[in-house]
């Protein structure tokens, strides 16, 4: 498979309702920013979640390490962007 077929990874942040921060909900692949927003709308707001979406190319996110002294992070330094925040666990999921 050629690389041109593989769309880059985007991280998606959704504002669930007014008054809340955008929170990270996951990632998806898209060829461009516009497509990332469209896909995010379809994938992460199928059930009316969210009033605002941010889509950010994963490679553009800078993230801190848990422990800067540690040389063993080096192999994953190119993955620093992965999933930097939690998203809220909904109240109506029982027993979590």
């Amino acid at each position: 498979m050629s690389d041109s077929e593989n769309w880059p990874l985007y991280e998606i942040f959704i504002r669930g309702k007014r008054g809340l921060n955008h929170v990270h909900v996951g990632s998806l692949h898209a060829a461009d920013d516009r497509m990332a927003l469209t896909h995010a709308r379809d994938l992460y707001t199928r059930r009316n979640e969210g009033v605002s979406i941010w889509a950010v190319r994963s490679e553009h996110i800078a993230a801190s390490t848990r422990d800067e002294k540690d040389p063993f992070f080096a192999p994953s330094a190119d993955k620093v962007y992965r999933h930097p925040t939690f998203y809220d666990i909904p109240d109506d999921v029982p027993h979590i």
Partner: protein
């Protein structure tokens, strides 16, 4: 760095990792983790993602033929959810350094597995209901504990998936209740579907504990929270009263309540069948993978065109900036 210093640092990290698991806290993508933990998770999450995507096919075949518009909408929404769930899970796998394109290749080349249940055919519309009841029910049984899995992105994906899947199971059971109130022919369709899907559903929990070599480590790492046999027992105990309420017979002559154990006794699934289906000899293995491969290959020109357009747009933007 000397070898001794290296292994000392690694031991520190490993004990930090073990301590995090011991405190029932989540491991997050940036944390150090043993290679085995990462590998096991990638395999499990990828198989789970593949199962969602391949699992669209058996029911998807009935969307265009659903016998009422309400059922059509529900089924389309459900199968769409499965695509979404596959995407949530691929997203979780990618936090471990896996690449979705690579995982897709592994799936369509038969190098990575998916749940054996999706290699059985759907022969009537009652199968849509029974899949919702049994297969999604079994999936929920498996997945609810995974909401507490030690790996954060996987656990969070499971929370979202479980929340959405309660609809899947309910729509199936409700379809069956409606059909059982219908004609004799419909009741026969339901019983026939129950007969065909019961044993494959029990096999969804995997081989018996004594024959499941990776389980102990996965449980120690809290990737899995319950053994295959525990979950299977729970599924049986939960399903028996539902079958009675529905008015269908589960096709197991050994099925009976055991007062002493406080659980139902039940017969032994045909494990040789499970092995055969997993190793590629199920009724639909070939067509399921072929369909996925065809969609992927026939879509290549679309994905390439979108990438080409994005590259051209970026180049145009650069030119404009220079000019």
């Amino acid at each position: 760095m000397t070898e001794a210093a290296g292994s000392g640092a690694e031991q520190d990290l490993e004990s930090q990792f073990e301590a995090t698991i011991g405190r029932d806290q989540r491991i997050e993508p940036r944390d150090w983790m043993p290679e085995g933990y990462r590998r096991t998770l990638i395999r499990q999450v990828a198989q789970h993602a593949h199962s969602e995507i391949i699992g669209m096919q058996p029911e998807g075949e009935w969307i265009t033929r659903a016998p009422s518009l309400r059922r059509k909408a529900i089924l389309l929404a459900k199968v769409q959810d499965e695509a979404g769930h596959g995407l949530y899970l691929y997203s979780a796998a990618e936090t471990l350094g896996a690449d979705r394109a690579d995982l897709t290749e592994r799936l369509i080349e038969g190098r990575q597995k998916y749940s054996s249940i999706f290699n059985y055919p759907t022969l009537s519309f009652a199968d849509v209901g029974v899949i919702g009841w049994f297969v999604d029910g079994a999936a929920i049984c498996n997945q609810v504990p995974l909401c507490r899995s030690s790996y954060g992105p996987y656990a969070r994906a499971m929370v979202r998936i479980c929340k959405e899947e309660s609809f899947h199971q309910r729509q199936g059971y409700e379809l069956l209740m409606t059909m059982m109130r219908g004609t004799d022919e419909q009741r026969e369709m339901v019983q026939d579907a129950v007969d065909r899907w019961w044993w494959p559903s029990l096999m969804m929990f995997g081989p018996p504990d004594g024959d499941s070599p990776n389980s102990a480590q996965s449980m120690a790492w809290k990737i899995k929270r319950h053994s295959n046999d525990e979950l299977r027992q729970r599924f049986v105990d939960m399903t028996v009263p539902q079958a009675a309420r529905l008015g269908v017979t589960l096709p197991d002559p050994e099925l009976r309540w055991n007062e002493e154990r406080g659980h139902h006794d039940f017969g032994t699934p045909d494990w040789s069948e499970l092995k055969a289906v997993i190793s590629g000899d199920g009724p639909c293995n070939t067509e399921r993978v072929a369909r996925r491969r065809a969609a992927h290959e026939e879509g290549a020109w679309v994905r390439a065109a979108a990438s080409a357009h994005a590259a051209k747009q970026a180049a145009r933007a650069r030119e404009e900036a220079v000019a």
